[in-house]
Symmetry: C2
Subunit: 164 residues, 2 copies
């Protein structure tokens, strides 16, 4: 049974890694200037979507009880506000690429250390009392939902041609 | 342990259903005429992406060993060829909506009947010999990869405004 469970965990992690890898592949083909391109007329720029995904993944660290956030400063620009609505000084494209890599590096390493049983433990936004009644509110649900969220935005990002 | 395994299977199925539901939500907000809209200039039309997802999901029936395909006739137009490259008479938007609903209805009902152990059994494109060496080539891997595939295209489709 333990073997079967680890089969599930490995499959879920492989799916997560596959989507992150697709974003990385796009990033390798866009220059910093190209990151200013909108994915469709009047829609989000690549730069914004990269910041958005980085902020969302950074928030997964405490949500999955895997450690502290690395870049809490991203939320105002990339979660609270829409693209181009932030008036402060945001990160450069190069800084954002670095943050994306660091966040996913820390997150993916920590996820790989979780046992199948630990993946089925509660996430940090549900109390132990509520989790006893709603056991589907687990880390797995967070990982699966953030995987499809990243895939959804990656599909938008890939509409912008890469140099490769 | 059986409880934990079914927790994994339930989470994976919920993620699949969530993505299908997002596409359905978009479809409810686009008229048949609106389905002719490209998701971005020069990119696939909603009509094509709907046919593409329907064909891919229809192929999951035999691939997951859950039964025969319902619409094998879709492949030439929506898998082999790019959008607008097919010169035959394709399905109407209404026919495509019906096919999409039927395929996912049959598929999702069959998936819900699979036990966690059955989800970890081989898919139809891997031989029993190869599967013994590569147990990750299971139904689960197909479901997860088609979930992110659908999410990726759903992200593109949602760039087109709906009437609701």
């Amino acid at each position: 049974m333990a073997t079967s469970e680890s089969g599930f965990a490995a499959g879920v992690l492989a799916s997560w890694n596959q989507v992150i890898g697709q974003v990385d592949k796009g990033l390798a083909g866009w220059s910093d200037e190209a990151l200013q391109t909108e994915v469709a007329p009047g829609r989000n720029r690549l730069y914004y979507l990269l910041g958005h995904l980085t902020a969302v993944h950074d928030r997964m660290l405490p949500l999955l009880r895997l450690g502290d956030r690395l870049y809490p400063g991203l939320d105002q620009q990339f979660l609270t506000k829409a693209d181009r609505a932030f008036t402060g000084e945001g990160p450069t494209a190069a800084e954002l690429r670095k943050a994306w890599a660091e966040v996913n590096g820390k997150l993916t390493a920590a996820l790989a250390q979780l046992s199948a049983a630990e993946l089925l433990e509660r996430h940090a936004s549900v109390s132990e009392e509520d989790f006893a009644k709603e056991p589907h509110r687990n880390r797995l649900a967070v990982v699966l939902s953030r995987t499809t969220h990243a895939a959804m935005h990656e599909g938008q990002m890939r509409l912008v041609k890469t140099a490769k």
